[in-house]
Structure formats: C-alpha cells, structure tokens
Amino acid sequence: MDINQQHRLKSYCLKAGHLILLFIAMSIICLPGLWIVLNSFRPTVEIMAKPPVWIPNSLSLDHYRAMFGAVGEGGVPVGRYFMNSLIISLTSTVISMLVAISGGYAFARYRFRGKSVIFVTFMLTRAVPGVALSLPLFIVFARVGIIDTHFGLILAYVAMNVPFSIWLIDGFFRQVPKELGEAAEIDGCTRWQAFWKVEFPVAKAGIASAAIFAFLTSWNEYALASQLTRSVYSKTMPVGLLDFTSEFTINWGGMCALAVLMIIPALVLTFIVQKHLISGLTFGGIKG
C-alpha cells in the first residue's frame, strides 16, 4: 500500500469515527425526550406490556383527553395548573426584568467602589440551594399569610431571577458602545432619554432573551414551589406532575402528556432565544 492510499484510508476512518461519535452523542441527547413524547400517545396497556412493544400498534390522544377533561375523582386539574404557571412565570419575569435592567445598567455604565463585591454578593444569593431557602421562606410566608398564593411565589421567583438576569443584561449593555449614549446626550437628550431612545433599543434583543431565560427558570422551578404552594389555587405544573403519582403506582402515560405540555412552550422560547443567549453569557463573562 503506498503512502497516499494509507493516508486516504486514515482520513476516511477518522471521518467515519467522527460521524459515529456525533450520532451516538445526539441520540443520547434526543432519545429520552422522544421516548416521553412517544409514550404520551400510547395507551397504558402498551406502556406496561411485557415483553415490550417496540413499534406502537396504535397511537391515541387518550392521555391528553383525560388530562384536559380531568373532572371528578382522581382527575388532575391541569388547566388550572397551566394557568397558575403562566400567571406566576409571566408576572415574575416582567418584574424581575424591570429590576434587572436598572441593576444591569448600573453595573455596565457606572464605576463605583465595591462594584465586584456587590456583583459577587448578588450572585451568591442565587447560589443558595432552593430547598435550604424554602425553609425560612416557608416560616416567613406562613407568618405573613402569603403561603399558597400567586403573590408569594412571584416574590420568590423575582428574587431568584434577578441576579442571573443582571449578569446577562450587564453583558448586553456592555456591548452597546458608551459613545452612543454620550452622543445622544450631547445632542440634547437627558440621560433618561439617551437610555430609553438609544441604548435600550440596541440592547433590546439581548434583554428579551434574558427575559425568556427568567421565564423558563420560573416555569421549571420545583424546590420552592413544592413547599410554598398547597392547593390547586397556586400549584404550578412542576408540582402538578406529582399528582400523577400515588403511593405505589405512577400514571406514566398521563405524566408524559403533562410533560409534553410543559416542554412545548419551553421548546419554542429556547429556539427563539438561542443565539442571543449564548452571546450574552459569553460576552458578559469574558469581558467582565
């Protein structure tokens, strides 16, 4: 075999190896989710079948029908949970964005003493494990009487989202050249106008992606929600998932259907946001 041929063979092998590895990695990422989606369309008999049924015989919407038509005993009020999740996530996202835009702008545009200490302190409040934070919050909220209300959970989620949103938004404002706002001020804008008319529109796409990230965090949160909510009036979907479990059995089909309902909004939002999110994180982190 001459050297040329050997070389070509080697590069073919490398290419094939690369593709195989890539395929395996992507399958491991995709399969668990796809399996959940598939099972949400299969009748319970088939899910439980022994030996397993690999190719579904019949697909049905039974689990979805049961989920949305949940009435009477044992039914899970999914519609209610969905609304709770939506209200809580949206409201807390809007509030935390307002707080984080103001805070992120301060970090990006002003120089002051103790800046990095304040920044890290903010971040540390986010690092407190949810379950450890839920204990005192539970005590305080019970005293104030906001356990099992939308308001209590919104308050908790705003605090949870603010630090990370500040990090992201700080990064996005740094990408806006300082000169832009200064030029506007020279042309007779006030600082507020310069911010609102010039700097904010430029950073808008980035801020939107920070908002989506905050929304997803609230949408998916469990550790706090499981303790601060008690009844259908404030339970969110992650907590609602547990309604499909009883002491010894789990209604896998119904759970999968609720899981799909939870993932769809997340999927759409993440798809919209992916580009800005990456640039925001890396920029904010690298030129810190």
Partner: protein, 300 residues
C-alpha cells in the same frame, strides 16, 4: 434627583430595587434561618422558636454519621458530575465544531436538555430506568444482554449511577454550548502558524485551543455553580434518598428533616452547611473565571 433630601449616587438608586428584593426575600430569611438553627424550632410547636439552645443543633449534626455521609455524597456527586459534564461538553463541542453541514440544527438539538425542568428530568429517568417498564431494561432484555431486570433504582450503586447519568444528561449542554461559542471565537492565525511550524493536532489543541477555551469553561462552571442544587429535584423524584439512604444527599436530607419530621431548627442548621458548600463552589469558580480572564488579557 432634587426630590431626595440626601443625594444618593445614581448607581445606588439603580441598584436599589435589586438590593431591596434580595434583602427581603433572600438575606433576611437567611438571617432568620440562622437564628432558628440555634433553637429547637418545630413547625408543630411555634413557641419553640423563642427557646435558645445555643449550638446544640450543630453539635448534633457534627456527631451524626448520616449527615456526614450525605455531605460526602453530595461533594462526590458534584465533583463527578461537574467533571464529566465538562469533559463530555468539550467533546461534543469539538465534534459539532468539525461538522460542515447542518450545524445550526445540531446546536438546537444540543440545547434540548436545557429546556427540561429538573423535576421532569427526574421523572423521565425514573421512567427510563424503571426496572419493569423502563427503556433501558426493555432494550437490554430485547437485545438479550441480560435475562433479568436490572434493579437500576433499587440497588444503591446502580441508583447513584442513574442519578449521575440524569444529572449529566441535563447539564452537559450548558458546557457544550458555551464551549462551542468559544471555539467559534478562536482566532485562526495562531492555529495556522502552529500548523506551518509542524505542530501535531494534539499539540495545537493542548497549547492553543485549550488555553483559549478555559475562560469559556469557567463561565459554564460559574453558571452551573449558581444552580448547584439543581440535582435535588432529580434525586427527590428518582429515589428520594433511598434505597436505605444510599443516595441521600444533603438537600434531600434537609427537606426530610424540615418538612417530614418538622424539625425546622435542625433542618436550618443543615441548610447552612449546604449554603456554605454552594458558596464555596460559586466563589471558587468565579475566582477561577477572573484569573483565567486576566491571564488572557481580557481584563478591563
């Protein structure tokens, strides 16, 4: 600004909302929990909140073997999971970076696990590793690799493996995506110069690509460390600390002590151990991040 009697600097006014909300929802409750960790507070007996027992709870924890096992297991899980996530993330990013077609699609697929709620990941893998109807056992049996069902979540060691698998599945994409962003940003010149000078691919990876990627890896680690207790949701659902405490982590132990046994004082003392652990990880990675930043000359 004229309305205010004392002139506060603008940056402070801008930070004020964030400070107020973090103070009232995080810091003040934490002070309360610090206080209550020195009392025998039980949810069922509110008057116990006013009884000071000093460091009794902490002494009790320090002498509790179960607590130290849970603590050690948590550190073990975090170390293994973070390292695996970093290595796998690096690997996936390198693989995707080499692809010439459909990269956008691959990147979207890579973000897939990021959208899953941790609690959902827990249920998903509880289902997949279920010894009776789970995907893994079904596949192993259909392929004839084993004829018995493997007790994935019932055996202590296998359960730990399953939990780490779920955790790594969920969080690797954070690393992969950020490292991929780093790979896109690498300047081409040094790599080409190295090629001309006769470096092997490994050498140019080791001495050019990897140092350049380090800040990106530390960003990913810093982001991960902010939410280090995410595994709580997974463990809570998959095994709830079982079988026989073999997968008990600090976080599940806190939850059980606080809400099931209603011993809030004791749970808060444990909570402080977990907070210190989280703070340690966060500070460590943020320091690493700023160190690697300044070594590359990104500082300003």
């Amino acid at each position: 600004m004229k309305l205010l009697p004392l002139r506060l600097p603008t940056w402070f006014l801008l930070l004020l909302p964030a400070i107020i909300i973090l103070l009232s929802v995080v810091l003040i409750p934490l002070v309360l929990s610090l206080y209550s960790s020195f009392t025998p507070y039980k949810l069922t007996r509110p008057e116990t909140l006013y009884k000071w027992i000093g460091e009794y709870n902490y002494v009790k924890i320090a002498g509790d073997a179960n607590f130290w096992w849970a603590f050690g297991r948590t550190v073990f899980l975090l170390t293994i999971a973070l390292n695996l996530e970093m290595l796998l993330g690096l690997g996936i990013a390198l693989l995707v970076n080499k692809v010439t077609w459909g990269q956008r699609w691959l990147r979207t697929i890579m973000m897939f696990p990021m959208m899953f709620s941790p609690i959902l990941v827990g249920f998903q893998f509880k289902f997949i590793f279920n010894d009776n109807v789970g995907l893994v056992n079904n596949a192993l049996q259909s392929l004839g690799i084993t004829d018995q069902a493997l007790p994935w979540l019932v055996d202590g060691k296998l359960a730990m493996f399953s939990i780490i698998f779920a955790e790594v599945w969920m969080s690797t994409s954070v690393f992969a995506i950020l490292i991929l962003a780093g790979l896109f940003a690498i300047p081409r010149d040094p790599l080409e110069a190295a090629k001309v000078d006769g470096c092997t691919p490994w050498q140019s990876f080791r001495h050019i690509t990897l140092p350049f990627l380090m800040p990106f890896i530390y960003i990913a680690l810093a982001i991960r460390s902010l939410d280090v207790a995410r595994a709580y949701d997974i463990v809570k659902i998959m095994t709830n600390g079982g079988p026989a405490r073999r997968t008990e982590l600090l976080w599940t132990m806190i939850g059980r002590t606080g809400y099931v046994d209603a011993k809030m004082g004791l749970a808060n003392a444990m909570g402080y151990a977990s907070i210190i652990l989280a703070v340690f990880f966060t500070v460590y990675f943020f320091r690493k991040l700023s160190a690697s930043r300044s070594s590359l000359g990104f500082d300003n």
